[in-house]
């Protein structure tokens, strides 16, 4: 089975703090990480490959430094990676990003399955998966928490819904977005790390992909951020002092006032 996993580089959110004066994000010099939800997609792709054979391609759009994360994915079992990187991709919203990724997918001879994380933790949009599937004209299933049966032509999976879950059969090729429940990502092996160092890695530009310049980056993005601001927080917390018994009494009174 030929599987493509979409991978996004995101800021390591542990390090994101807001400067209260400038309302902007302060980051110390530490590195970006693989979007946590994508690590489950990577693991799932490798598990399917181990069972059914085939190949896993890691696909990303990002700055050249994303190579480090793609090599990390390779150290865990991804066979080869493709990074779509170009100045003209910058400023892409989800529509332009999904278009660009679809060009990367269409570069491949064929594919059976595309796996994405449920969403990226920096944008929280969860839109890339369905938009990419629409661009490719294939079905998609979001919020998949379990693959029950994987065949060469179809997958039976469990999808988390707002009211419970559904068991869904989907014909391949298809795109699935996965939630955290689906597996426990492995750590790279020593052999894997060595493989990752010089595993097949490719980088392609807008020109290499024959991209329509009106559909990529800022120009290809219908949406535009006009303002960012820090949400208003509750005013200073009321401090409850005293020994634990006194504090507990006060909390109990507050709780009783609400319930």
């Amino acid at each position: 089975m030929k599987i493509i996993v979409c991978i996004k580089q995101v800021p390591s959110t542990n390090e994101v703090r807001l400067d209260p004066e400038t309302n902007t994000i302060i980051r110390d010099g530490r590195q970006s990480v693989t979007n946590p939800f994508d690590t489950y997609a990577i693991e799932q792709a490798i598990q399917i490959k181990e069972k059914l054979g085939g190949e896993v391609l890691g696909l990303s759009m990002g700055i050249p430094a994303t190579e480090r994360l793609l090599r990390d994915a390779q150290s865990r079992g991804v066979d080869r990676t493709l990074l779509l990187s170009d100045r003209s991709f910058a400023g892409a919203d989800t529509l332009a990003t999904a278009y660009t990724l679809s060009l990367g997918v269409n570069e491949q001879e064929s594919f059976d399955l595309i796996l994405c994380g449920k969403m990226a933790v920096d944008g929280d949009t969860a839109q890339i998966g369905p938009e990419l599937a629409e661009n490719l004209g294939i079905p998609h299933v979001t919020d998949v928490s379990e693959l029950i049966e994987v065949h060469n032509d179809k997958i039976i999976c469990k999808k988390i819904t707002d009211t419970g879950h559904q068991i869904i059969e989907v014909k391949l090729p298809a795109l699935l977005t996965v939630v955290k429940d689906i597996n426990m990502p492995r750590l790279p092996s020593i052999k894997g790390v060595l493989f990752g160092l010089d595993a097949p890695f490719e980088m392609k530009s807008a020109k290499d992909l024959n991209a329509d310049t009106l559909r990529i980056g800022l120009s290809g993005s219908p949406t535009q951020v006009v303002k960012t601001y820090t949400p208003e927080r509750a005013s200073e917390a009321v401090v409850i002092e005293g020994d634990p018994a006194t504090q507990a009494n006060e909390i109990v009174e507050i709780i009783k006032g609400v319930i």
């Binding site: 400023g91 369905p130 079905p139 707002d162 879950h165 980056g217 006009v226 401090v239 634990p244 507050i254």
Partner: protein, 400 residues
């Protein structure tokens, strides 16, 4: 060429923009800000500049004639023939926006045996309802719904299309947006019409709720947004309100790549997202045996127990109880946090709580910045006292 533009006359080289830059692509050269190729055009620096010297310039690549688009559409999502509350919330907001824009408010209702719901939508403010009622539309399936929307949008050209940010809405909306080639803003919490341009200003939380971003879609139509359920107000029902109902045939031959084999509704086990009272626990609880204290307190006050991610990782609790960015977002009336310091990913999940009472040993813990009541101390001790306090209450009642 599209990109970040630095106005050389306005820029004084103060360097404030450097601090906010997430890609570290700004620097000061000869007392002016300079942007490098690493810039990803995230736009965060724009508002940080005290001199308004920064802007992002882009050319309009759209070939759409926006003047041909009018009216506000709301997707009336239904499950098993019942329209979801979020659709009525959207009609409530949509009505306000339609008044400002002096346009019509239109609902789109898709499913099987749903026609009776159309009147309900009119009573909630819709001037017009498109109903597509067909056996093929019995279950919520993106691949069929997108065909219906594609045709309706091309034919009637709505200016704005709103969908609830439900699981299904967030799966369907991006498919529609990609099909018709327009912008989509996810999970909005504020919608306004810009006085000057008439554009829809869509505001949503970003970076896990630590930043609000206002987004517009100036040159593509419809302007699409999914809207978080529970945020907008339902308008009072007016059963005298008149409206038009138009039946739309389903004439597509989608072969059906997707089959729903089984639909399982969660039992009455309440999801933590719906809980009104939550006792949440973090690493500061100290030992696994102390988890029982949180459970006891939750039981006494009729609440649920939530946890931070590290507790799930060490196996002290289950994933379904995890609150935060990679777990559930919660919106209880009251949240009592015990030994939670407040990593940003966790805080992202609790911003909807009405009253937050936090107990933590570290008086500088970030959790206190979101809290309404702050208790600096050992949460285990306080929990024990609270439990005995509530148990005493119970005992008294029993004696009476």
């Amino acid at each position: 060429m599209a990109g970040l533009v630095i106005n050389q006359e306005k820029c004084v080289g103060c360097g404030v923009c450097l601090k906010g830059c997430a890609s570290k692509s700004l620097s000061i050269v000869n007392k002016k800000a300079v942007v490098s190729d690493d810039c990803v055009l995230c736009g965060i620096c724009l508002d940080s500049c005290p001199f308004e010297a920064l802007s992002i310039e882009k050319e309009n690549s759209s070939t759409m004639d926006c003047s041909k688009y009018s009216d506000i559409w709301v997707f009336a999502e239904q499950h098993n023939g019942k329209v979801l509350p979020v659709a009525y919330e959207l009609l409530g907001k949509g009505k306000e926006l339609a008044k400002e824009k002096k346009c019509k408010l239109i609902a789109v209702l898709i499913g099987l045996d749903i026609e009776a719901e159309a009147k309900e939508l009119i009573a909630h403010g819709a001037d017009h309802v498109y109903v597509c009622d067909d056996i093929n539309l019995e279950s919520n399936m993106d691949e069929r719904y997108v065909e219906v929307f594609d045709e309706l949008i091309n034919k009637h050209k709505p200016e704005i299309l709103l969908l609830g940010a439900t699981g299904f809405g967030r799966s369907l909306a991006p498919r529609i947006a990609a099909r018709v080639g327009t912008g989509l803003t996810a999970d909005c919490t504020v919608l306004e019409i810009d006085n000057e341009t008439g554009l829809l200003k869509q505001t949503r939380p970003a970076f896990g709720g630590n930043l609000m971003a206002t987004i517009i879609c100036p040159n593509h139509r419809p302007q699409m947004a999914t809207v978080r359920p529970g945020v907008m107000q339902i308008k009072e029902i007016d059963s005298l309100q008149e409206g038009k109902i138009t039946s739309v045939p389903y004439e597509f031959s989608v072969d059906g790549s997707i089959k729903i084999l089984e639909e399982v509704l969660a039992s009455e086990v309440k999801s933590i997202s719906d809980a009104d009272i939550i006792v949440s626990v973090g690493r500061g609880i100290g030992a696994q045996k102390n988890m029982a204290l949180a459970e006891k307190l939750a039981e006494l006050i009729g609440g649920s127990v939530g946890v931070t991610r590290p507790l799930v990782d060490v196996g002290w609790s289950e994933y379904k109880n995890q609150i935060g960015q990679t777990g559930s977002a919660v919106a209880p009336k009251i949240l009592i946090t015990c030994g939670i310091s407040g990593a940003i990913q966790h805080l992202a999940g609790i911003s909807g709580a009405e009253t937050i009472i936090s107990i933590n040993a570290d008086s500088d813990a970030p959790i206190f910045s979101l809290s309404h009541y702050k208790i600096v101390g050992d949460c285990v001790e306080v929990l024990k006292k609270m439990i005995s306090n509530f148990e005493d209450d119970k005992g008294k009642k029993m004696i009476v």
